[in-house]
């Protein structure tokens, strides 16, 4: 299934790789979100959200933010009952679909550099929307850093590994 219709080979590969990250337990939810998102984006065909990319002054940014926003709308419509493990990969897949669409329309040439840039923007856009601002990430990183420098904690982790606790 992975990206059979997508035209851009690199985007296809990324989509396939992202889908590998979706845990089986979230697989169905992931597909529902993607399918819902694509239906929503293509509603009204050439006058729909996806097609409106042709008016965009910054197609790459709009592909990223549009995909994330659509998932946000769907999440709201689902009363928030959308697992993180399905929602984030689905948003990424919708972003890749939008990029492929823009590529097909000749709005931008999507190569590795564009996908990398879109991914960075994806992270920078999604995390604050999930109420995980840079300061919190710094704090979380520091917490984990502290744990990893604590021999006792590391020993406990090691013991978890060995199943000794």
């Amino acid at each position: 299934m992975n990206g059979l219709i997508m035209q851009n080979t690199l985007l296809k590969q990324v989509e396939a790789e992202v889908e590998k990250k979706v845990r089986p337990i979230h697989r169905e939810a992931y597909l529902k979100i993607v399918v819902s998102g694509m239906k929503f984006a293509m509603d009204k065909g050439p006058q729909g959200i996806l097609a409106s990319l042709k008016q965009s002054k910054d197609p790459l940014t709009d592909c990223v933010k549009g995909a994330i926003s659509i998932v946000g709308l769907l999440r709201r419509a689902a009363n928030g009952k959308m697992p993180i493990g399905a929602m984030i990969p689905a948003a990424m897949t919708l972003m890749l679909q939008a990029l492929d669409f823009a590529d097909k329309m000749g709005l931008l040439k999507v190569r590795a550099a564009e996908i990398d840039k879109a991914t960075k923007l994806f992270v920078e856009t999604l995390l604050p929307l999930m109420n995980v601002p840079p300061e919190q990430v710094a704090q979380m990183t520091e917490q984990v850093h502290t744990i990893m420098r604590d021999p006792d904690k590391m020993q406990q982790i090691k013991e978890f590994q060995n199943g000794n606790t």
Partner: protein
């Protein structure tokens, strides 16, 4: 682009009313975002992106585990309480105990020093060799390696390989998506767990791929969340309401028209704050042990949803058609072809004369 502005504004509304949920899932969010980020880097060949994704995954995964173990102090407790308050509408009486009774079995854990994610093939996704936990715990080794680290070049710089010894390929922490929550199966016996399972209508429980799940009529309806100590629903969108959700989202978009687009919480306009954190982390941890992280398989066999997959294919085809339609609409309108016939054109060069039998 107005539509995007509308959508983001609506997201803000949704995010604002779910503070407890958002705070609770910060580590999980980071783990999943890290996972997809590293996936992209693996395909595009951007090792910096892969490393950043790996670090995000590691921070999310280890953090999730640490939270479940109560190592993060009051924060985990507060998050659990916030979540329960949000879920049940009032504080839960008594203490909310982090699910720290996790005892992994040896079969679920990658032994220290062994290859990490050995099932990951090198082509395309790469392989990580784990670093024994002792290496990371060893301050001397860390400090010694530090001297050789140039930092994490996220913008195509030429910095050294910051996670030397930890990364040998592209994709890094596919297991991090599962994070600490899947380090081991566990027994969910708390009152909160029981209540949450009851809300889902669960009639039985079992462990699947190292995850404790609740089942109803043989179908998985909940997944045990070690951080909250309750079962999270895994059926976010019912089939019955599938179409309605799209309609509702469309209606939401219309209602939100004209609202300005802004992203709350971003203090670093260019988003570099995130990458700086990971860069600092990589500098401080030149060798990263993934002890405590393990992976559950991401085997899709038997769990593939053919119906939704077919729908997705149809929609992809529709997207291709729409792209063509839009391209046609945008095409410049007609110019005369040089040398085109003018005037009346006779269909036959030589009129037939005489009678035709």
């Amino acid at each position: 682009m107005p539509v995007v502005a509308v959508a983001v504004a609506t997201w803000q509304v949704a995010a604002a009313v779910e503070v407890g949920f958002a705070a609770l899932t910060a580590f999980q969010t980071l783990a999943v975002v890290g996972s997809v980020t590293s996936a992209v880097g693996a395909v595009t060949g951007n090792k910096d992106l892969s490393k950043a994704g790996m670090i995000m995954g590691a921070v999310g995964g280890v953090g999730n585990l640490a939270s479940s173990q109560g190592w993060l102090g009051e924060e985990a407790l507060a998050n659990s309480q916030a979540y329960n308050n949000a879920l049940f509408g009032k504080p839960v009486s008594g203490s909310v105990t982090p699910a720290n009774s996790v005892i992994p079995t040896s079969s679920q854990i990658v032994p220290p020093g062994s290859e990490f994610l050995p099932e990951v093939t090198a082509n395309g996704t790469g392989v990580i060799n784990s670093v024994p936990a002792t290496d990371v715990a060893s301050q001397a080794a860390t400090e010694a390696a530090k001297a050789n680290v140039a930092g994490l070049p996220l913008d195509g710089g030429s910095g050294g390989d910051v996670v030397s010894g930890a990364v040998t390929g592209g994709d890094v922490v596919s297991g991090a998506v599962t994070g600490g929550s899947n380090v081991a199966s566990q027994t969910a016996t708390s009152l909160e767990a029981t209540n949450s399972a009851a809300k889902l209508g669960a009639t039985s429980f079992e462990t699947q791929n190292g995850v404790e799940v609740a089942l109803k009529d043989g179908k998985v309806v909940g997944e045990f969340n070690k951080v909250t100590g309750i079962y999270d629903s895994v059926a976010p969108i019912s089939d019955k309401g599938f179409t309605n959700i799209v309609n509702t989202a469309t209606a939401d978009a219309k209602l939100a028209l004209g609202k300005p687009m802004s992203i709350p919480g971003v203090t670093s306009p260019d988003g570099t704050g995130y990458w700086d954190s990971f860069k600092a982390f990589s500098k401080a941890n030149p060798t990263i042990a993934y002890a405590g992280l393990t992976t559950i398989g991401t085997t899709m066999a038997g769990l593939f949803d053919q119906t939704k997959a077919a729908q997705k294919q149809q929609l992809e085809a529709q997207a291709a058609l729409t792209a063509q339609q839009v391209a046609n609409i945008n095409r410049p309108i007609g110019t005369a072809t040089p040398g085109a016939p003018r005037g009346p054109v006779s269909l036959l060069n030589s009129p037939v004369t005489g009678r035709v039998a």
